[in-house]
């Protein structure tokens, strides 16, 4: 794996080397963060005054905050004045065919079962006019328009639907929420906006793949999804292909709002660059994801498969405000080599008879450290609420670690909270048993690990699940035997 990721890294660097555009001065902010920089970003994006004020408020609050030290992760101090907070999206070098792509990278794509067309898109090969992904996206977009569904980049939304954005932005994750959310609020570059009108069931999985004008995933991404009464949407974030980015710090914010009887299903596959075998490089992924079930019987479901990043700090949460609302969290987090993950969820029960389910599967290999951190809070008013949590850890080898930090606060007597936890190790016995039936060690591990994650994978949309399974195999390659 390391040679592959190294080549990916090389390739990515190469792309950047040739990819810079000439008039750098005007499109890149100077290093560091100040009120001027926040104003610069807002001006660059031609934002309305209210949004600038919103950003500034966040920035001023951020100045008073301290970087959290409670997560069970370790990294050198981040110099926030050494980061460039704005640069215009850079066009990557266009290639003429897949023959020009590094064969090692193609091998990884193949292992992941990524289609040729998708491979071309990922490696920035100019695609055939007939199969142009943009034309596919256009067809989808037309269909969504008919239904009144808005799905566009955040900047477009600010321009075209300012009232919707203004109404919901920061309603779930306030600017003052936490250190990284405040930072994001001050300097966020772009992201996605999605609005499902009342009673509409979005007929397709929405994925950033089909969103025009936003091929680049930004360092400070902002996503807002609003599902009106009785609507439904399934949203896919991320990509199973390895993604290398020169930005080390990623601090995204995702907000979900579900009104009465609305349902939002949010699935993530995260495969950012995890650093090399010695733990050098790699992305710090500090994300704030939260949804609110604002109305009765609303439902929000988070499903995540986290295999990348050097450090993952992320707690997709649900505020169960409406009576009888439902929150779900299904997670697979893999740490290999020197990766660290501190991830979990918060389920805040406010409404009556609210229900939450947490299924977390942590897999540690190499020297990886994997922590589950979760909070189940049942407020006094949330009578008859229920939570079921299951946290399982799987260890490969004897140099990795698994940790569980469950916090439970129940303020009434009619609610029920269950927590189950287990830790197991892939034994030589299991691998030998598989080998004795003709399987290679790698197939054996991949089979055992996928069996372990089954409850989470079945929550993913079909195609995504297949890719996720393969991804897990690739991520753990060479970790045992």
């Amino acid at each position: 794996m390391s040679t592959e990721t190294n080549t990916i890294e090389e390739l990515a660097n190469k792309e950047y080397k040739y990819g810079f555009i000439t008039d750098i001065e005007s499109d890149v902010a100077p290093r560091g963060l100040s009120e001027e920089i926040v104003r610069f970003i807002s001006a660059k994006k031609q934002e309305p005054e209210w949004l600038l004020q919103w950003r500034l408020k966040a920035y001023r609050h951020w100045l008073t905050m301290k970087e959290p030290v409670w997560p069970n992760v370790h990294y050198p101090k981040i110099d926030y004045q050494d980061i460039i907070y704005y640069s215009a999206p850079k066009p990557k070098k266009q290639l003429n065919s897949l023959d020009e792509v590094d064969p090692e990278l193609l091998k990884t794509y193949e292992k992941l079962g990524i289609s040729l067309r998708e491979q071309e898109r990922l490696s920035n090969v100019a695609v055939d006019a007939v199969f142009d992904s943009v034309s596919v996206a256009t067809t989808f977009k037309e269909k969504l328009n008919e239904l009144g569904i808005i799905f566009c980049s955040f900047s477009e939304a600010v321009k075209n639907h300012p009232d919707l954005v203004r109404k919901h932005l920061g309603s779930v994750v306030p600017t003052t929420d936490n250190y990284f959310a405040a930072l994001n609020s001050a300097v966020f570059s772009d992201g996605s906006f999605c609005y499902i009108p009342k009673g509409i069931r979005c007929p397709m999985e929405l994925s950033t793949y089909f969103r025009i004008n936003s091929a680049d995933t930004g360092q400070f991404e902002r996503t807002l999804i609003v599902a009106e009464e009785g609507s439904y949407v399934s949203y896919l974030e991320g990509c199973t292909a390895p993604i290398r980015d020169t930005n080390q710090l990623h601090a995204a914010v995702v907000e979900l709002v579900a009104f009465d009887h609305a349902q939002i299903k949010y699935s993530t596959v995260q495969n950012w660059y995890p650093g090399d075998k010695e733990g050098k490089g790699g992305i710090y992924n500090f994300v704030t994801k939260r949804g609110i079930c604002a109305g009765e019987k609303a439902k929000i479901s988070w499903t995540q498969v986290e295999t990348g990043s050097a450090i993952t700090w992320k707690y997709p949460s649900v505020i169960l405000q409406g009576d009888n609302s439902v929150g779900e969290f299904y997670s697979v987090a893999v740490t290999n080599n020197y990766q660290q993950a501190d991830t979990g969820t918060k389920m805040i029960h406010i409404g009556r008879n609210t229900k939450s389910t947490i299924v977390s599967k942590g897999i540690s290999a190499g020297k990886g450290q994997n922590s589950y951190r979760g909070l189940v809070e049942i407020k006094k008013r949330a009578e008859g609420s229920r939570n079921f949590s299951q946290c399982d850890s799987l260890l490969l080898g004897d140099k990795c670690g698994a940790h569980t930090f469950p916090y439970i606060e129940v303020k009434n007597t009619s609610s029920k909270v269950e927590h189950e936890a287990s830790t197991s190790k892939i034994g030589e016995d299991q691998i030998f048993y598989c080998k004795q039936r003709g399987l290679s060690a790698e197939d054996a591990i991949s089979m055992i690990v996928n069996g372990f994650c089954k409850e989470v994978f079945r929550e993913l949309p079909m195609e995504f699940a297949v890719e996720a399974q393969k991804l897990l195999g690739v991520s753990l390659e060479g970790s045992v035997g």
């Binding site: 030998f432 048993y433 598989c434 039936r437 399987l439 290679s440 994650c453 409850e455």
Partner: protein, 253 residues
């Protein structure tokens, strides 16, 4: 089919096998009997390629190949099957999926096309019928939550699907009541052909009432000290192992 010459093996620092000699031809059933700790399971494990055992000397030829030079999965693909004394649980992986993956790896190594889901299901159903095993076994996770008897029957079921040339049954009778024992033995008998060989490793003679061996070998202290026909097993049942152990010591082995 199988020839073992002067095989010695140890676990950690402890020498367990101290010079095993054995020849098994196609179509034969051999029983390896012996008291606890005599090295029966070690022999089964060494033949299947379990890594915790270290072979210190000797040779094992299987179908004219050096068996000890092969990885466990290669041995499996060449038709060596071990029915485990303690079958391992693999949570979340269905029996069907597991077995299909194994079978297709074996087929691939022999240059055969993999079976698709429909073909595989047909094969599996036919085997289930022969062995009188309930179909719900297929969708359950590998050995998870199985009773002792179910686990052993699952081993024999896997053997039926994989159709090995050399099957090694490691204490397949342990922990089974008489009805379960009969079912398992009945299954094994149905899989006996003139082209395959079976090595039955057992402590007790009772399994051999149902799987009648052509040869019986008594393993004591890491060596085969006595070989004979099926009547030897009866003699052991009657007299226990002590007389052979005594005899061995008297001869000064």
């Amino acid at each position: 089919m199988l020839e073992i010459k002067n095989l010695c093996a140890k676990v950690g620092e402890k020498e367990i096998l101290r010079g095993i000699n054995l020849k098994v031809k196609a179509g034969e059933v051999h029983a390896i009997m012996g008291p606890n700790g005599s090295g029966k399971s070690t022999l089964a494990g060494v033949l299947a390629g379990r890594e915790s055992y270290e072979v210190t000397s000797g040779e094992v030829t299987y179908k004219e190949n050096d068996l000890l030079d092969m990885d466990p999965e290669e041995r499996a693909r060449e038709g060596v099957f071990l029915a485990f004394q303690y079958p391992v649980e693999i949570p979340g992986v269905s029996n069907t999926y597991f077995l299909k993956a194994g079978l297709n790896e074996i087929r691939k190594s022999r240059g055969l096309d993999p079976l698709d889901a429909v073909e595989f299901l047909q094969l599996v159903k036919q085997k289930l019928n022969v062995l009188h095993i309930d179909q719900d076994l297929l969708n359950r996770p590998v050995n998870e939550g199985f009773s002792g008897g179910e686990k052993k029957r699952n081993e024999i079921f896997q053997m039926a699907v994989l159709e090995p040339s050399l099957a090694i049954l490691d204490e397949t009778d342990s922990g089974l009541d008489i009805d379960a024992l009969r079912l398992v033995a009945d299954g094994v008998n149905k899989l006996r052909t003139k082209d395959n060989a079976i090595l039955v490793v057992t402590h007790y003679q009772r399994l051999l009432n149902y799987i009648v061996p052509d040869f019986v070998h008594v393993l004591v202290n890491g060596r085969i000290v006595k070989s004979g026909g099926k009547e030897l097993a009866l003699e052991l049942e009657e007299k226990g192992y002590d007389w052979i152990v005594d005899e061995t010591i008297a001869v000064g082995a």
